[in-house]
């Protein structure tokens, strides 16, 4: 009945009161990225960040929690179009997904404001895929939104 879905899409849009060049730097310069990457309470030691911002270049950030736990994000830059577009490909990661491609698009809104859109396509694991095939994910998202 439903088409087999093997990928889940998420899209997040944010508008920042900051010029596009600044947002671009926040994504592409290690000392900038270190200041915001990851959940609150995690820090990103500069010596554990690799940002080779060019097509095929490596992306690696190891975040450290207050308790000393480590969490790594890694991947490869697939596209780099300064100052408006980054495509990042992440390899499979434990139970969560079998790889993900994220596209970051920065749009200059003028007056020092920038719209940032993140679109991720996540190749889901078998378990996740089962739910996606059931048409679950999108309606669940809508319900969750409704519940706030």
């Amino acid at each position: 009945m439903t088409e087999a879905v093997s990928a889940q899409e998420i899209a997040i849009t944010r508008v920042f009161d900051a010029p596009r060049e600044l947002v671009w730097k926040a994504w592409t310069e290690p000392d900038q990225l270190a200041r915001w990457w990851g959940p609150r309470g995690w820090s990103n030691p500069l010596e554990m960040i690799t940002l080779d911002v060019r097509p095929g270049g490596e992306f690696r950030v190891t975040s450290v929690s207050g308790e000393g736990a480590e969490m790594s994000s890694q991947g490869v830059f697939r596209e780099v179009v300064e100052p408006e577009r980054l495509v990042l490909e992440e390899p499979a990661e434990d139970a969560w997904h079998e790889g993900a491609v994220s596209v970051v698009t920065l749009t200059d809104l003028g007056e020092g404001r920038t719209e940032m859109v993140l679109q991720s396509t996540i190749q889901t694991t078998d378990e996740m895929r089962g739910h996606a095939e059931a048409g679950l994910t999108s309606s669940l998202d809508r319900l969750a939104e409704h519940l706030g």
Partner: protein
């Protein structure tokens, strides 16, 4: 949430009629007949769906024998949604920090 409970929750959510029922209940509690109205199925069929949703902890039902109004139990639904939203959550958290960071570095200029 335990894995078993998640499985039950997701199984309950996998049916379009049950999801529609939950969406309806998001607007407020309703009796079985009210819930059955928009669907081309019997009240008995809706009752069955409600039992599945109740077992999954997604809804709670009143005690009044006749009407037994159903209402949404946000907790289980939220936990299931959270589980799926882990990836999104990472970005949302990061972008909150990014927003603060961008504000911070512009203060000095």
């Amino acid at each position: 949430m335990a894995a078993d409970q998640l499985t039950t929750t997701f199984a309950a959510l996998a049916d379009p009629t049950r999801r529609a029922i939950l969406t309806r209940l998001a607007h407020g509690e309703a009796s079985v007949s009210q819930l059955a109205e928009p669907f081309p199925v019997t009240v008995q069929a809706i009752s069955k769906h409600l039992k599945v949703l109740e077992r999954a902890g997604l809804i709670a039902r009143g005690r009044s024998a006749q009407l037994r109004p159903s209402r949404l139990q946000g907790e289980a639904l939220k936990e299931a949604a959270d589980w799926l939203a882990g990836y999104r959550g990472f970005w949302e958290d990061s972008f909150d920090r990014l927003e603060e960071h961008l504000r911070e570095i512009q203060k000095g200029t």
